[in-house]
């Protein structure tokens, strides 16, 4: 599905993905430093465009481009498998900095809880992806258990409830509000 508005923050905006973003998505998804824990996609720009066209009419997902305030594309984030008051979050990759990345997650989770009115976000994280695990916990993620993927790699599964999110994200919001102005990264993707 497509959200027609723009989710606006102080340092980043989120807008729905269009077919014109296909090349950017392939570029960022092929950067091993950024997309280490995401499935690699080996398709052409045209195939990616076709996938986006299909996604835009899906009934169970939203896919956003993260832009800085100068409208430069810096990442992607998505909510999918929306069903019965819950959904998964993924396709998250960004060349943004700490401030931009944190605000992008806040905007996206606010969208999920305050616009889609979902009750919780399902999530799984590879056990050795300590950075994302820690990041998710900072937004209220609680581990429910552990399992192995089809290749035998261990991962945690759990959820972020709206209540936990509102509680835990306060610290993140306060920190974002403390920042008077922003020094963007230059050339992080180099």
């Amino acid at each position: 599905m497509v959200y027609n508005g723009v989710l606006k923050g102080r340092f980043v905006n989120l807008r729905s993905v269009t077919e014109d973003d296909a090349a950017f998505i392939l570029e960022i998804r092929s950067n091993p430093a950024i997309s280490k824990y995401l499935p690699q996609i080996r398709i052409t720009v045209e195939q990616q465009q076709a996938w986006i066209t299909k996604q835009r009419v899906d009934s169970d997902s939203y896919y956003f481009i993260i832009t800085d305030k100068e409208h430069n594309k810096i990442g992607t984030i998505s909510v999918y498998n929306i069903f019965d008051g819950h959904a998964e979050v993924g396709r998250y990759c960004s060349i943004g900095d700490f401030v931009q990345n944190s605000e992008a997650v806040i905007l996206h989770n606010d969208f999920i809880f305050n616009i889609l009115f979902l009750n919780y976000i399902d999530g799984w994280v590879y056990k050795d992806n300590t950075h994302v695990l820690s990041l998710n916990k900072g937004f209220g993620y609680e581990v429910d258990g552990e399992a192995l993927d089809k290749d035998g790699i261990p991962y945690f599964y759990g959820k972020i409830t709206k209540q936990n999110y509102l509680l835990k994200s306060l610290k993140v919001r306060n920190n974002i509000n403390k920042i008077s102005s922003h020094v963007p990264n230059v050339g992080l993707m180099e």
Binding site: L135, V183, P184, V186
Partner: protein, 70 residues
């Protein structure tokens, strides 16, 4: 330096921070710790530092020295 290190320990939620390490060497380091650090620099030290610059220091001690010299 002691005061700044204490604040870093609060952000990272660890005792006895080893300042010879880089931020990225610490298990407790993540984007949200980075955000807290940028907010601390801005609000308490009136310093604006990019993520890339924070990550460029060879050690936390070097970072602290740079902050205190600004």
């Amino acid at each position: 330096m002691e005061k700044l290190v204490k604040k870093l320990e609060e952000i990272l939620e660890i005792d006895n921070l080893d300042i010879t390490k880089k931020f990225t060497d610490l298990e407790e380091w993540d984007s949200l710790a980075g955000l807290s650090l940028i907010a601390l620099l801005d609000s308490d030290y009136n310093i604006m530092m990019a993520t890339k610059e924070i990550l460029s220091f060879a050690s936390i001690e070097d970072f602290c020295n740079a902050v205190l010299e600004k």
